[in-house]
């Protein structure tokens, strides 16, 4: 084994350093007062991580192709790091109230490390290792509010589904191993090519089953319909900060990995997974939208919204062209990170300042008492709903573009791609309906007893400022998209 390969894993090395530093600091500061600077320290380190990920890095092949990065992988790592920075920033008051900020940041860092490993895997086992490294600490994070039953319930649901989906996925991976005799991505692709080219249905069957199981396993992580049943309860039960983290970072990493593996490993089987993906995307977007309409609790509502957003994220993979698809997907994730984190930051501060109120009805008349927060919430909702000039519209449009790129309406598959995009488009109207419901509650609904005026802490303000800047500028300033598409 070549130990110098460790030096090539720069983002992972930085994350490990963060983990160690956090651990030592937590260890060294026993009293609550001494831990006041914990959050600033971690924030600064995550900011540094984001900067490191933004630095141009050459593609790496390490450990005999177990660890493979490309510029697209570096981009998604930067996006994930940036998202985690926002999560860390806005988590301050909640984490301090819990009295266990050290553990929280360590868990958060280790899940992120797992995701980094996952997105840069070059082998199914490495990928699986990363995935598990990300899921297990996440379950602990969901259960972080020990005294709330919902939190424990959410964690139980999460860990059970996570284990189950891992099992299903491993089953699929073993099929692939059986069919190809290897687990390295490149080798699997080459073997599949000959298998598919042979046209022998008995030989094709095994990898197709492998694909289906693998897809289902990741479908659980991204919470695509019909693998979404855990989402609402977990999102509702988890501490709001963790829900935010689950909905953007964890989902984004899994979605990127799925896209990357579908395009780069299951390349020869594209007609199979295209069909699979189309069905799942249509279901996710439509079913989740219909459920979201009926929700009265904001976090549950955001859970269904995030399922439908996951559908939109995966819509990018319906297209035939890797560069447009991957850049549209990464860009969508970035925009989704800022918009969704803005919403969750606001839910979080409102919850903390008003004794855990998270019903949509609680927000009636919110504009009268907290005009700035409700204005930011409106921007975020508009961005999620895809309204210009906010970034959400650009990301949606690019995803739609990617979805039909290379499709020809003269062919059946091409016509179906357009049909799927059309259904997704009609669903934007439904989603706008429920996003506007929140706006309606804040601005239009009358309330004799609105939430009182309060001041949010500086860290949340800073996180919200970052999010708002993102919502306003990531779309209009084309540099962001250029940077992402350059890497693709």
């Amino acid at each position: 084994m070549n130990y110098t390969d460790f030096l090539k894993m720069i983002p992972e090395a930085v994350l490990t350093a963060i983990l160690v530093i956090t651990f030592i600091c937590d260890f060294a500061s026993a009293r609550q007062t001494e831990r006041k600077w914990m959050n600033p320290l971690v924030s600064v380190m995550f900011a540094a991580l984001t900067v490191v990920c933004l630095l141009p890095m050459a593609p790496v092949h390490a450990f005999g192709d177990m660890y493979v990065t490309s510029s697209a992988v570096n981009v998604i790592k930067a996006i994930l790091a940036f998202g985690s920075l926002i999560v860390v920033l806005q988590s301050r008051s909640w984490a301090e109230a819990s009295g266990k900020e050290g553990e929280f940041y360590m868990l958060l860092t280790s899940t992120l490390l797992g995701m980094f490993v996952m997105v840069s895997a070059g082998n199914f086992l490495m990928f699986f290792l990363g995935l598990e490294m990300a899921s297990v600490p996440l379950a602990t994070m969901v259960a972080f509010d020990m005294k709330r039953n919902e939190s424990a319930e959410g964690a139980a649901k999460f860990i059970l589904t996570a284990t189950f989906s891992s099992g299903v996925m491993l089953y699929g991976i073993s099929f692939i191993y059986g069919a190809c005799g290897t687990l390295y991505f490149d080798d699997v692709r080459h073997t599949l090519m000959t298998v598919i080219a042979s046209g022998d249905l008995t030989k094709v069957f095994l990898p197709v089953m492998g694909l289906v199981f693998f897809f289902s396993g990741l479908g659980f992580k991204i919470s695509l319909v019909p693998f979404h049943f855990w989402t609402a309860d977990t999102y509702q039960g988890a501490p709001t900060t963790v829900t935010g983290y689950l909905s953007v970072i964890s989902k984004g990493a899994a979605a990127f990995t799925l896209l990357s593996i579908l395009f780069n490993v299951f390349t020869p089987m594209d007609r199979y997974w295209h069909v699979l993906l189309m069905i799942v995307v249509v279901l996710s977007i439509t079913v989740a939208n219909l459920f979201a309409i009926r929700q009265g609790e904001l976090k549950r509502f955001m859970a269904f919204s995030s399922i439908s957003q996951a559908g939109y994220i995966m819509l990018a993979a319906i297209g035939d062209k890797w560069p447009t698809s991957v850049s549209a997907l990464s860009y969508y994730i970035l925009v989704y990170v800022v918009a969704n984190m803005a919403v969750f930051s606001i839910i979080s501060v409102v919850e903390q300042n008003n004794g855990g109120k998270t019903d949509i009805d609680d927000y009636n008349g919110f504009y009268q008492t907290n005009p700035k927060l409700s204005f930011l919430m409106t921007l975020a909702m508009f961005s999620l709903g895809g309204i210009p000039p906010f970034a959400g519209m650009f990301s949606k449009f690019f995803v739609f573009m990617a979805g039909v790129d290379g499709s020809d309406i003269h062919t059946t598959m091409g016509a179906w791609s357009y049909a799927v995009v059309f259904i997704a488009l009609l669903n934007t109207v439904i989603s706008l309906y429920y996003y506007l419901k929140i706006v309606k509650a804040m601005y239009i609904k009358h309330n004799d007893n609105p939430l009182p005026t309060f001041n949010s802490d500086n860290n949340t303000k800073f996180a919200l400022a970052l999010c708002t800047t993102g919502i306003l500028l990531f779309g209009i300033c084309s540099y962001v998209y250029d940077w992402i598409s350059m890497a693709a």
Binding site: I409, V421, D482
Partner: protein, 505 residues
């Protein structure tokens, strides 16, 4: 100089900043009055400059054109440019924004927020008209739509939440059809550009044209009150505050007709040839059904909203007639309807503000009490029913003459059916004028009403001036418009022989 057109977007953005900073009502008013005046001045300057350039023999399709690459990998540019059609539309928008500002001078509560959304809406409208890139056009189109939700939902009257949601969702549904159309156009021209004129010169795949034409046409048609997608319009207008109704009926609904011509018909002539008869039937229904519905309404705003359905239907009707005169008439109708319907809504809003009702049955004798507004109402009504001397006459005359030039039996019959709306319009206008302006005053309280204040007089007077101006010297605008319609029409005919057959049937 080459970026001068972007001031139409920059000024609203500056106004947004100004409003953000404003600390009291007077500062808000100051920002709005200044901004709207500057916009109006810029639009007038643009019109004069445009005419000068044309007279000097500058025959570029787009004047003041410029573009900068925006999203290079997707071939999206930020491209601006104006031809005759967009010039008059920008002028129209500037007039409506200016008068709309004064019409909402005394609006309560939350003046600042109201004007923020109002300005965002107008920035979308201006951006749409200056853009020549499909994506940019679409973006501004949606920017113009969404503020309506809050403007109606917060400051509206009656069942405002319902109306606001209905309007927003229907228009957004239209725009989602539009996105699919845009994607189809982009991929099936095989283009490496989103510039509308360049796309039109490339031949789009004929099957794709036939598939995507209805998406784009309906997408814009929803905003142009195409039957059966017009139902948002009466509810939306009835619930909206005055200036929003003005801006919406006056300008936003014109985005529909403009987009139908500029994107759907211009780029997809083969699709047009196939779908024109179908849509012609729908627009015919819009025209007649809108007018008939207006006859039975008792709410002043509903009457005018249905009248707008009828008149905007006429715009699409004329576009589909595919003769140069008819298309010119359609643009004139957009201009004329924009002005007179804004006037109408302004006056109705002021009457409602005073009387507390818009129900025709509860109003009467207003001519004795508030003569200025009553006369303004008569002027708007007469313009609406197409009295010579006002803008409505010029537009409708051109439309029907142009439509009749199309010799096909089907088109002749359609024209005759649509012509009946002129008579029906007279019925519903004169009925209301007679009822609410003359006869006895039904309510003692009405005697205490005061006539228009200075800010209202500015709004109403300005609009009357424009309506009469367009009616008295139509040739000035007609020349600008014909000049722009000609190349578009010729491109359509040249690209699709089927359309020229249609036009000369």
């Amino acid at each position: 100089m080459s970026w001068i057109l972007t001031i139409f977007v920059i000024i609203p953005v500056l106004m947004l900043f100004g409003l953000w900073m404003a600390r009291n009502d007077n500062q808000v008013r100051g920002v709005m009055a200044t901004g709207a005046t500057v916009l109006l001045a810029a639009a007038i300057w643009l019109t004069i400059y445009f005419v000068q350039q044309r007279n000097a023999g500058n025959n570029d399709a787009m004047l003041l054109a410029n573009s900068v690459t925006w999203f290079a990998p997707l071939h999206i540019d930020f491209a601006v440019g104006v031809d005759g059609i967009s010039t008059v539309m920008i002028l129209l928008s500037a007039i409506i924004v200016f008068t709309g500002t004064f019409a909402s001078w005394q609006l309560e509560p939350m003046k600042k927020e109201y004007f923020l959304w109002f300005v965002l809406l107008s920035s979308g409208v201006f951006g749409f008209f200056i853009s020549t890139d499909m994506f940019t056009m679409f973006m501004f189109y949606e920017v113009a739509l969404i503020p309506m939700y809050l403007l109606i939902g917060v400051w509206g009257t009656g069942p405002k939440e319902y109306s606001a949601m209905k309007l927003t969702l229907m228009l957004m549904g239209g725009s989602s059809l539009l996105i699919l159309g845009i994607l189809g156009i982009y991929y099936f021209t095989g283009a490496t550009t989103m510039d509308v004129s360049k796309l039109a010169s490339l031949h789009m795949d004929v099957t794709a044209q036939k598939v995507f034409f209805p998406f784009v046409f309906i997408g814009f048609g929803v905003l142009g009150a195409l039957f059966p997608f017009h139902t948002w319009s009466p509810d939306g207008h009835a619930s909206a505050p005055t200036a929003v109704s003005m801006l919406h009926a006056g300008v936003l609904m014109k985005l529909g007709g403009y987009g139908c011509l500029r994107i759907a018909m211009f780029i997809m002539p083969d699709g047009l040839a196939m779908w024109a008869p179908f849509f012609l039937v729908l627009t015919c229904i819009s025209v007649v059904y809108g007018a008939l519905s207006a006859c039975v309404q008792t709410d002043l705003k509903y009457i005018n909203a249905y009248s707008s359905v009828s008149h905007c239907g006429m715009v699409l009707f004329a576009l589909l007639m595919m003769t140069q005169t008819a298309i010119t008439g359609a643009i004139l109708q957009m201009l004329s309807h924009g002005l007179m319907t804004a006037l109408f809504f302004a006056v109705i809003g002021m009457i409602y503000h005073r009387c507390g009702t818009r129900d025709v049955r509860q109003l009467g004798g207003l001519m004795k009490i508030i003569p200025f507004l009553a006369v303004a109402y008569v002027v708007a009504g007469l313009a609406n029913l197409g009295l010579p001397g006002f803008s409505g006459f010029v537009a409708e005359m051109t439309i029907f003459v142009g439509s009749f030039e199309n010799g096909g039996m089907f088109h002749r019959v359609a024209t005759i059916i649509a012509c009946t709306s002129i008579v029906i319009t007279a019925v519903y206008i004169l009925r209301v004028v007679g009822k609410i302006l003359y006869q006895a005053v039904p309510n003692k309280k009405f005697f205490e009403l005061h006539d228009a204040t200075w800010d209202e007089r500015v709004a109403v007077g300005g609009l009357i001036f424009c309506v009469a101006g367009l009616g008295l010297c139509p040739l000035f605008f007609q020349d600008i418009i014909v000049n722009a319609v000609k190349p578009i029409f010729n491109t359509i005919i040249a690209n699709a022989p089927a359309v020229s057959a249609l036009a000369n049937m």
